[in-house]
């Protein structure tokens, strides 16, 4: 099962070589009540301890594959199902320090059945998450 809050405790970690991390990852539960085509995902904003990371550079790992944001937009078959977390990989040379960080995610999904002026749908979630190692 996934954790109730969107940003999961599991999966928050640095990536890249131990001596020189290239960024960090976070695992996100879908807030939506169905799975959806990856091209309906819009740019997310990830903020860690006040530092904002633009969605263009965020890599998406979904059960169907790994995608840059541009690839996700163009994909004919990428899917984010309800029962699998998306892994967002955010570039940040050096990674994050060991300890507790305040992480905020603005997740944006485009829905076809809601008037355009009320879109995208935006979920904002914040949690304290731990870099253990």
């Amino acid at each position: 099962m996934l954790e109730e809050q969107l940003i999961q405790a599991a999966g928050f970690r640095n990536v890249g070589p131990d001596a020189a991390p290239t960024g960090f990852q976070l695992r996100v539960r879908s807030p939506y009540y169905r799975g959806l085509w990856g091209s309906l995902i819009e740019r997310p904003t990830v903020t860690v301890d006040g530092e904002e990371f633009a969605g263009d550079d965020t890599l998406w790992t979904l059960p169907t594959g790994e995608y840059t944001f541009a690839e996700l937009q163009r994909s004919p078959d990428a899917r984010w199902p309800m029962d699998a977390p998306a892994v967002l990989t955010v570039p940040k040379p050096g990674g994050l320090a060991r300890g507790i960080h305040e992480v905020t995610l603005e997740l944006r999904l485009r829905m076809s059945y809601i008037p355009e002026e009320l879109q995208p749908s935006i979920w904002t979630a914040t949690r304290k998450a731990v870099i253990v190692r």
């Binding site: 539960r29 008037p115 979920w123």
Partner: protein, 302 residues
């Protein structure tokens, strides 16, 4: 008691369990709960509840049928989407819309469903549906007939019964003369007061532009009588039944009177949409079904 002597079928949509799904319950747990609470009809969202949609494994499909058989559940409606904004920078063609609907119809047919609700994209603030819908549906009427499926767009507040959208649907039905098309009424249109849902795992807003959703009045139940002949399915949308088994938001006695008096013998499929709190759906669904069964029993006695 536990015989099902109701004038209609009573079902549950797995949408009800949204706050629990993947968090405190698996899809299988939800289906077990639907059976445990005594419902006979099982509604799902294709993109929500089928593992590896749109290509479930044969093992998943075998387990689906074995479980429904064991639990005495009948697949009722399969909710689908025609995501007209799926391609950034351009609209969806009618052929693409038809292909999406065909995909879902085939999958629904394979899983034994009798109804498919395509949720169609809109093109205006007053919720006019994308004009590709007519061709997308029309191209699939033959397939729907082969599969024994009725396609039924959902009348969901703020779209109401007396609306241009419903007129468009009824004109389509008349023009094509098809019996594979009808209306799905979501009982949320009959709210007697607005419910303000609490909870949820994140704060939510619709867009950054500060636009406000349309303010549409709710609908008198008498409007329902006018479209009963075209109505093939009900989503029994509800929010809260209190500790005295009273629903302060939906006029169930009135709704059931119109439904049963019209001779409707189809499904009432519960859609819990109250506070976004884990575990609340299972309890509230039981309350709503106890309430609906009580009302049906009162009618029998009078």
């Amino acid at each position: 008691m536990s015989t099902d002597n109701l004038p209609f079928g009573l079902g549950v949509s797995l949408y009800s369990y949204t706050e629990d799904l993947g968090v405190t319950m698996t899809v299988e747990d939800c289906i077990e709960d639907v059976a445990d609470l005594g419902a006979k009809g099982l509604e799902i969202l294709g993109e929500g509840h089928i593992a590896d949609y749109p290509n479930p494994s044969t093992a998943w499909i075998d387990a689906w049928f074995a479980r429904n058989e064991r639990l005495g559940l009948t697949p009722t409606l399969y909710g689908s989407w025609i995501d007209t904004r799926r391609f950034p920078g351009r609209g969806m063609t009618a052929a693409e819309g038809a292909a999406q609907l065909a995909l879902d119809l085939r999958l629904a047919g394979r899983l034994g469903f009798s109804f498919v609700r395509p949720k169609i994209g809109v093109i205006s603030g007053d919720l006019q549906v994308d004009p590709i819908w007519q061709e997308a549906v029309e191209r699939n009427l033959e397939l729907a007939e082969e599969l024994g499926i009725v396609i039924c767009p959902e009348i969901h507040w703020p779209t109401v019964i007396r609306s241009p959208v419903v007129e468009e649907y009824l004109e389509f039905k008349e023009r094509t003369g098809t019996s594979q098309f009808g209306l799905l009424i979501d009982t949320g249109v009959f709210d007697v007061q607005r419910f303000h849902a609490r909870g949820g795992s994140a704060s939510f807003r619709m867009g950054d532009g500060g636009a406000m959703p349309p303010d549409v009045p709710f609908v008198p139940v008498s409007d329902l009588a006018e479209v009963m002949e075209h109505t093939v399915y009900f989503q029994a949308k509800f929010y809260e039944v209190d500790d005295d088994l009273v629903d302060h938001y939906l006029p169930w006695r009135e709704i059931i009177d119109v439904v049963v008096d019209s001779g409707y013998t189809g499904w009432l499929s519960s859609e819990y949409e109250g506070h976004h709190v884990p575990y609340r759906a299972a309890d509230q669904l039981r309350r709503q079904h106890a309430l609906i069964r009580s009302i049906a029993a009162e009618r029998t006695e009078r």
